[in-house]
């Protein structure tokens, strides 16, 4: 089974379309979206509807999806993110709001667990990028593979033993062979706003038969997204990030 895992679209429709077109070519059976369909980007409704229309795709809620529904306050976010969320709230139609409201915080499938930020406090939105929070995440689940997003950086964390993890930043398209019984935390990066100094959209495919994780980077025309952000008077700091991949 080839499972596509993608996250953090953030209203970037162009990036999403490119990623989905690429995944179709790679014989994906199912897909799992790890949250943050909206926020930052100029096409929140279009992105929600595109993902809603995908067959065999499940989604979980991200912090921006929740904030866009006022389930958590956006006033704790950075200035640019807050402004984008308030704009997104006005744009989202009722149907898409209802869809976002029903998204779960966590999904468990066979030996895999999927969350947006972390499994120990899913709505605390803590980044899992270091040893402390990686160990805490391992302790909060008994799955073999934990898939996360939120940090916008592709990452592979391998549990070595009780108090030690091996953290590997993934740069560019990479295929990782899984061997042994080591538990893994896998961050698929971001489709709509990568922050690892690579402007290309990021997603991964987990192949259960070949035991591989394929990290893919897909170039897209970010000028379409940037122009739409400018047109809708979204903060300049946000579209500058797309140009730099930070």
């Amino acid at each position: 089974m080839r499972l596509m895992v993608f996250s953090d679209v953030h209203g970037n429709l162009e990036a999403l379309q490119c990623v989905l077109r690429d995944a179709v070519k790679r014989d994906v059976h199912r897909s799992l979206f790890l949250g943050d369909l909206v926020g930052y980007g100029p096409f929140p409704n279009e992105c929600v509807e595109r993902v809603r229309g995908l067959k065999k795709c499940r989604c979980i809620a991200g912090n921006h999806d929740v904030a866009a529904l006022w389930e958590t306050s956006p006033y704790g976010m950075s200035r640019g993110a807050k402004k984008a969320i308030l704009w997104t709230m006005e744009q989202l139609n009722e149907s898409n709001k209802n869809y976002l409201a029903e998204l779960p915080d966590r999904i468990d499938l066979a030996e895999m667990t999927f969350v947006h930020a972390n499994p120990y406090n899913p709505r605390g939105w803590r980044y899992v990028t270091d040893r402390k929070y990686a160990l805490r995440s391992f302790a909060a689940t008994d799955c073999k593979y934990l898939f996360i997003g939120h940090s916008h950086r592709p990452l592979l964390i391998k549990k070595k033993h009780f108090l030690s993890v091996d953290i590997q930043a993934i740069t560019g398209p990479t295929q990782v062979k899984i061997s042994g019984n080591k538990r893994l935390i896998i961050n698929c990066g971001s489709v709509g706003q990568p922050r690892d100094n690579d402007t290309r959209a990021s997603y991964l495919i987990f192949d259960t038969r070949k035991h591989t994780i394929e990290f893919h980077r897909i170039p897209y025309d970010y000028s379409i997204t940037v122009n739409a952000m400018k047109k809708n008077a979204l903060p300049a700091s946000l579209y500058k990030r797309l140009l730099k991949g930070t």
Binding site: M1, I107, A110
Partner: protein, 564 residues
């Protein structure tokens, strides 16, 4: 008369069995009541005897104590230390003499002062008292004994206390040459001497005869038993009259009605009782209803603007009928909840969940809902018949097998992608139409990983047909996608062989589990079957869900390869 506890092989009729069991119960109750009465009376008698004997014994002990501590010192003071008047200074003599006089007016109370080496031979211990000497000497803390003793064919309740020599006693019980001459003159120098202070001097006892009282208690119990027996006989007669009027005669009417309906058959099987016959008739009725569910005898009906015609299939919670819109004549399928499901709130929750799924879940194999009319769903027309033909056909040809399983796997993968587990994939809920398209007509046992499972919440246990059920579902575990993969494996087995992987005979859940541990190899039914195909079925139907395919897609990929 031969009596069997239950079952159609019983050889006595219902009334006889009721009479025999009632008689056993009443007789047993009478015996128990009498025994309890005797035991209670005996207990009360013993308690009374215990109190009385202890009072008398303590009285005699008080006399002995008075002589020893008051009278004898006073006599020595008055008459000097060389004087010893037995009648006024011997504790044993005084206490036995007083108790002898007491016995003249109360002959039932026997006081004894027993010694192994007495001055007076009359006080020599008998064999029982010798035994009690040993018992008291073994443990000096033993200061009292009570119990029933048989003597000369009669029972006595006996209380005993030990008496130990004090230093003042040694003058008369130490060396014979130092003893007062009044004592040696009367009793001689053979017995009652050579003791030291602290030695066990004797045992003082009171015996009360209890044989007569026990006999009276026993007679009372016999009278009580006789009265109970008489009362039981009367009660038995009354019960039988009532049973005849309230049960047997009414049952007789019912049986006559049933017999009349069963034209051409004998009145009823004489080898069983009336309930057995009724049970057999109800079994027949159940089979009739079952066949009615399958559509052999249902009449047309009308729901809203729709006309219901013949039934198509029965799901876990509902029937599916064919029908049409009354004005446009457009063909539809109509899903109607079982009456018993609609009445039961626990099942109704499952039924509502199923309707919600039909309304919300989208897949080419799931018929679209046109309208909901109260407890009825109007869904797209489903032409064709269900896959139960697989049970009686030979191996499905590879092209059809491919088409059927590609749709089935896609359907199940879509269900699993949405967090749903069907739990009830069996030929009867899957319809194959003329275009070889599969339609799923039942989702009554489906669970969702995002909602509380109504079947688990209601504690309903395994639901559905155990023949097709995955082992873990029989064990009450739900929500495992592997259970549907087992269902797919089962369907593949049927499609490849036209046979079941184990016998269909109905049995307990434990036996089903044992059956499912070992399936009949496919090669027993089919020749020229590829090893890879057999391995796919074995893996999909593995008893342990962890050994099955984890993903439907993996099952389908292997199946595709094997078919190619």
């Amino acid at each position: 008369m031969k009596i069997k506890r239950h079952g159609p092989r019983s050889t006595t009729n219902l009334k006889q069995r009721f009479f025999i069991w009632s008689a056993f119960i009443l007789l047993g109750g009478g015996v128990l009541l009498s025994a309890l009465s005797f035991w209670n009376t005996r207990r009360l008698l013993m308690a009374e005897a215990m109190t009385k004997s202890e009072v008398i014994l303590r009285g005699a002990e008080a006399i002995r104590s008075y002589v020893k501590e008051e009278l004898r010192p006073k006599m020595f003071e008055r008459h000097g230390n060389d004087t010893f008047i037995i009648e006024a200074m011997s504790t044993t003599y005084i206490s036995t003499t007083i108790m002898d006089r007491f016995a003249e007016s109360m002959p039932d109370y026997i006081y004894r002062r027993a010694s192994l080496n007495p001055h007076n031979p009359r006080n020599l211990a008998d064999s029982f008292e010798e035994g009690m000497f040993d018992w008291f000497e073994i443990d000096s803390t033993r200061l009292f004994w009570q119990g029933i003793v048989k003597k000369n064919g009669a029972s006595y309740f006996v209380s005993m206390v030990p008496d130990y020599f004090g230093s003042s006693c040694i003058r008369c019980h130490g060396k014979a040459e130092d003893a007062p001459h009044e004592l040696t003159d009367r009793y001689g120098m053979d017995g009652g001497f050579r003791f030291k202070a602290g030695d066990l001097a004797g045992i003082n006892s009171v015996a009360i005869p209890v044989s007569a009282s026990f006999r009276e208690a026993w007679q009372g119990s016999i009278y009580l038993f006789a009265i109970t027996l008489g009362g039981s006989a009367l009660l038995l007669w009354l019960l039988n009259v009532l049973f005849q009027r309230l049960v047997i005669e009414r049952l007789g009417v019912m049986l006559t009605l049933i017999s009349e309906k069963k034209k051409g058959t004998s009145k009823h099987n004489t080898s069983g009782d009336e309930i057995d016959f009724l049970q057999a008739s109800l079994g027949s009725l159940r089979r009739y209803v079952s066949s009615a569910r399958k559509g052999s005898a249902l009449q047309p009906n009308f729901i809203g603007n729709y006309t219901v015609t013949e039934p198509m299939a029965a799901g876990s919670m509902s029937w599916v009928y064919k029908g049409f819109e009354s004005t446009t004549k457009e063909k539809v399928a109509i899903k109607i909840g079982f009456a018993e499901v609609l009445r039961n709130p626990l099942y109704r929750a499952c039924f509502e969940a199923e309707f919600h799924l039909f309304e919300s879940f989208s897949h080419p194999c799931v018929p679209k809902v046109t309208q909901r009319v109260e407890d009825t769903l109007i869904i797209d027309d489903i032409p064709g018949g269900n896959l139960s033909f697989l049970l009686h056909s030979k191996r499905l040809d590879d092209t059809l097998l491919f088409r059927v399983f590609s749709q089935l796997c896609d359907l199940v993968a879509t269900l699993h992608s949405a967090g749903l587990v069907h739990h009830d994939l069996r030929p009867h809920v899957l319809v194959l139409d003329d275009q070889e398209k599969i339609h799923l007509i039942d989702m009554g046992l489906t669970s969702s990983d995002q909602q509380e499972d109504p079947i688990i919440a209601a504690g309903l246990g395994p639901q559905g047909d155990m023949l097709y059920m995955a082992p873990e579902v029989i064990q009450g575990k739900r929500g495992n996608p592997g259970s549907d993969i087992y269902g797919l494996g089962f369907l593949l087995y049927l499609a490849l062989s036209g046979s079941l992987p184990f016998s269909e005979e109905r049995c307990s859940s434990g036996k089903w589990l044992r059956k499912k541990e070992q399936i009949i190899p496919l090669s027993n039914h089919v020749d020229n079957l590829s090893n890879s195909m057999e391995q796919i079925v074995l893996k999909a139907m593995a008893f342990d869900s962890k050994k099955r395919y984890k993903w439907v897609e993996d099952f389908w990929e292997d199946l595709k390869k094997a078919l190619n």
